[in-house]
């Protein structure tokens, strides 16, 4: 049992990678067979749930990992179990649903690959016991979601939406990474269990605000909170199963999960409370409000999702035991009804060919089963009994009312949002299912009975589970209690029941429902009003603004690049040399205690000095030479002069090599030189003067450095080893050669490789040219023999 979970998660990734192969065998049933893996995980997790002790977490240690310190240890407690169960459970249903929905799409194999990767990463993330591993899984979900949103990649809109989602969640991912690294540096461990056991709280640390800001940024980008909420409606470009899975029940909740995970470590401070309450409150209200103005079923669901996520953020921010409890319950509620509703959107889309709720009506008679299921889900969304949604909403109201100092703001926002939720639920149901006598009945492409069970089972099961949990919420007590315990709330008294008695909360609920019904009756003007507000706000249309921002960024990046990468060879070099001079200058002036000669310099030999003088004249002449040939020849003089210097100081081999190499090079140069252009003075006098000054500066600094190096480190004990062992160990009397072929043979091998590469480079530069030229010339006339004359000038 111990490691079965990690093995299963590994299996998901493995299956994801193998999908292209499996798809060839299983074809349309791929999703059906793949769903077995999450089903097993679900079963394992249920078993874990039944074993779960109320005040204990179990750790699955493994030594496997990316790196030492980044092991795939898994932590099973109430929080991860709740998330894991929902993710794997809905995952099974989504795979079943998708195996029918996606049947006519291209590239299905890669679709399943992305989906499996996403599923594995998501489950890995909620169970991982290591912050770094959590971050890696977090990033995998972002990338997988990028591919899934952009799955319809020939549509411009999909690509844009995918890029937007990736940029925003990727930005959040980076923030999370920094936060994790800083946290790890402060606490000395990345392991969540250790952090929890040591009950470390970062609240008093000087870097706390930085870490918290980064973490909250990560959470609110992932969970589509204001002002980053706009990527979520865009993400509805994805195929419906993807929206149902990623953008309602799982990925967007990752941010909430993160907040709950790190709550014991850094939660509960003033900044935590107010920042989360602010974003959460605004998002909750805006999402619900804007959902009224939409026509597309999926977009409506997207905005209600935003609202629900805002609610959860708000609840985590309120930071009382009750609010955390409410957040957890609401997460379950939301996952159950929203996943179902998205799948229903898929079913309606498939059967009628449209998702515009105002184009549809009277589906009640044709799709009775769907109607019942939708009704249950919508009741949950509206927060009416007997669904679990009612319980969630009650808890939310309770939590909000417990907070005297801000309840004046939160309560109206919350009630307003809920009124809109009730209204939109009724509107959706009315528009979709109640027949309108004035309009023609809708023709269905597929009759409900023709749809296979795997397509429809998802929403049915989810609705049934929601109903069941709503009627007997006792089942949730253990995991929620356990989760709350590890969030540091030992004292949270927990009793979940549908009927709380007749109290303020119930009055508020009744008020909400009545107002919602009222809004439904005046929905036409309300919708129009919201539509107007949306058009008015379109001037500040966030997706467009975001795109513009990105475009501007790219443009300015291009500008800066052009400024730095100007393409002028000599200016690159100038920059380089100037930097070298500056850095060396700083370093030389910083070292004030120059120990001048530790060794007495060797005596000046007049003939060597003369040799150097001649060579120096030659090199200066080479610089100012007008003709190419004289420049080459003086270069030869320089090379030979240096060779003589080697010879004089006892380096015989060096001298020979230098002579020969210089000769070969001169021959090569003379061969090519007449095919190269004449010398011309291309630069202006000013730039020549500038270059001259800079090069003299470089020369002076090199001289200084050489002198310093000469006098700082001279006795090299390495050489003494070579001298002592050259004959006894390596049987050679030429110590230099022994070093080359024996002591340092690896270097020589590398060198020979470099040389071979140079030769290969020369060959490949001319290979095609020779071929083409040969083809051109042969046939017309033979290559002229006297060409070689030019080589002997």
């Amino acid at each position: 049992m111990d490691n079965i979970l990690s093995l299963l998660i590994g299996l998901i990734f493995l299956a994801g990678m193998a999908t292209p192969l499996l798809y060839r065998i299983w074809q349309k049933n791929t999703g059906l067979y793949l769903s077995v893996i999450p089903l097993i995980i679900f079963a394992v997790l249920i078993a874990e749930l039944l074993q779960l002790a109320p005040r204990e977490s179990s750790l699955l240690e493994t030594s496997m990992g990316f790196l030492p310190g980044m092991e795939f240890a898994f932590r099973i407690d109430g929080l991860s179990l709740i998330f894991g169960l929902l993710i794997s459970g809905i995952g099974v249903l989504i795979l079943l649903h998708a195996s029918y929905y996606m049947a006519k799409y291209d590239h299905q194999a890669s679709f399943y690959t992305y989906l499996m990767f996403f599923m594995g990463a998501m489950i890995g993330m909620v169970f991982s016991d290591n912050l770094l591993v959590l971050f890696i899984f977090w990033e995998i979900t972002s990338v997988a979601s990028f591919f899934l949103i952009g799955f319809d990649h020939h549509a411009e809109k999909s690509r844009q939406a995918a890029l937007q989602a990736l940029l925003i969640t990727g930005f959040g991912g980076l923030c999370l990474f920094f936060a994790v690294i800083i946290t790890g540096n402060i606490t000395g461990t990345y392991v969540i269990s250790e952090l929890l056991e040591q009950s470390i709280h970062l609240g008093n640390h000087p870097h706390y605000y930085l870490i918290l800001t980064l973490t909250i940024l990560a959470a609110i980008t992932k969970s589509a909170q204001f002002p980053f909420h706009f990527w979520l409606p865009g993400a509805m470009q994805a195929p419906t199963p993807v929206s149902a899975y990623l953008h309602s029940a799982t990925m967007v909740n990752a941010g909430i999960f993160l907040l709950m995970r790190i709550y014991p470590i850094m939660g509960g401070t003033m900044m935590w409370k107010y920042s989360l309450m602010l974003t959460g409150g605004i998002t909750m209200f805006l999402g619900a409000f804007f959902s009224m103005g939409q026509r597309d079923f999926k977009r409506i669901l997207a905005f209600t999702t935003i609202s629900a996520l805002g609610t959860m953020t708000l609840l985590v921010g309120i930071d009382t035991p009750d609010s955390l409890k409410a957040a957890l319950i609401f997460f379950i509620v939301h996952g159950l009804y929203k996943g179902g509703l998205f799948m229903i959107a898929g079913i309606i889309d498939k059967s009628t060919g449209t998702r515009d709720i105002y184009d549809l009506h009277g589906l009640y008679k044709k799709m009775p089963l769907t109607t019942v299921v939708t009704l249950l889900a919508l009741i949950s969304m509206a927060g009416l009994p007997p669904m679990l949604g009612f319980l969630g909403k009650e808890l939310i109201y309770e939590a909000k009312m417990q907070l005297p100092d801000v309840s004046w703001l939160l309560l109206p926002l919350g009630v307003g949002a809920n009124i809109m939720m009730v209204a939109i639920s009724i509107t959706v149901f009315y528009e979709l299912f109640i027949p309108d006598r004035k309009r023609k009945p809708i023709e269905l492409k597929y009759k409900e009975k023709e749809l296979p069970l795997r397509f429809t089972v998802g929403p049915i099961l989810l609705a049934v589970v929601g109903l069941f949990l709503g009627l007997s919420p006792k089942f949730l007590e253990t995991p929620v209690d356990n989760g709350l315990f590890f969030m540091g709330n030992q004292s949270a008294e927990l009793s979940l029941s549908l009927w709380h008695g007749f109290n303020d909360v119930l009055i508020l609920s009744i008020f909400t429902v009545l107002s919602g019904v009222l809004v439904f009756f005046i929905r036409r003007p309300v919708t129009r009003l919201i539509g107007k507000i949306i058009t008015w706000l379109d001037r500040l249309h966030l997706p467009t603004l975001f795109t513009q921002l990105i475009n501007k960024y790219v443009k300015s990046a291009a500008k800066n690049t052009n400024l730095l990468q100007h393409g002028y060879h000599r200016f690159y070099l100038l920059t380089f040399f100037l930097m070298v001079i500056a850095l060396m200058g700083i370093q030389i002036f910083r070292i004030t205690d120059i120990h001048l000669p530790e060794l007495t310099p060797s005596p000046i030999k007049i003939h060597v000095a003369l040799l150097l003088l001649v060579t120096a004249c030659a090199v200066v002449f080479a610089v100012f030479a007008k003709s190419r040939l004289s420049a080459i020849l003086t270069m030869g003089v320089v090379g030979y002069g240096i060779a003589m210097l080697y010879l004089y100081y006892g380096a015989v081999d060096l001298a020979i090599t230098q002579f020969l190499a210089e000769t070969v090079l001169m021959v090569l140069f003379v061969m090519v030189i007449y095919y190269l252009p004449e010398f011309a003075i291309l630069s202006s006098k000013k730039s020549r003067l500038r270059d001259g000054i800079i090069s003299i500066g470089v020369g002076v600094f090199i001289t200084l450095i050489v002198l310093k190096a000469k006098f700082l480190n001279l006795e090299t004990p390495v050489s003494e080893f070579f001298v002592a062992n050259a004959y006894t160990e390596a049987h050679g009397r030429n110590i230099r050669n022994v070093i080359l072929v024996d002591f340092r043979a690896l270097d020589t091998m590398g060198e020979l490789t470099v040389l071979t590469l140079a030769a290969a480079g020369v060959y490949s530069l001319f290979r095609f040219q020779i071929k083409i030229l040969k083809k051109k010339k042969t046939g017309t006339d033979e290559p002229r023999q006297d060409d070689n004359k030019k080589m002997h000038v």
């Binding site: 150097l612 120096a616 080479a622 003299i696």
Partner: protein, 117 residues
């Protein structure tokens, strides 16, 4: 003597840098030659030049007193460096020749982008 050689190296560097800052490709190639020679000299000088003999173990002896010979290690390094700089210089020469052939210009300022003529 060390001072003179150091100044000589400085001069070589100055000339090499001046040459590779030119716009004409031929001068740039010459600059590369000069710089590689000068760098070899730096390594040579760092081994110490005040010692006398060549680094050989005389016939019949097992070893030799390190103080009486010049340091063999820098020599081995420079030998490698000389041959490598031969290969690299030949490669640069070929490259510049080909470049001139393709673009038809020897002005490096014309070589600002990857488009051919």
């Amino acid at each position: 003597m060390e001072y003179i050689i150091a100044i000589f190296i400085g001069l070589l560097y100055a000339c090499g840098v001046y040459l590779i800052l030119r716009r004409s490709i031929v001068k740039v190639i010459l600059g590369v030659f000069v710089l590689s020679n000068a760098t070899s000299l730096i390594i040579f000088l760092s081994g110490g030049i005040q010692r006398g003999g060549a680094p050989f173990i005389p016939e019949g002896a097992e070893t030799v007193d390190p103080a009486t010979i010049s340091d063999p290690l820098p020599q081995a390094l420079i030998l490698t460096a000389i041959v490598i700089s031969l290969g690299i210089s030949a490669y640069i020469l070929a490259l510049k020749y080909r470049y001139f052939d393709v673009t038809g210009t020897h002005d490096l300022d014309q070589l600002k982008n990857t488009d051919q003529r």
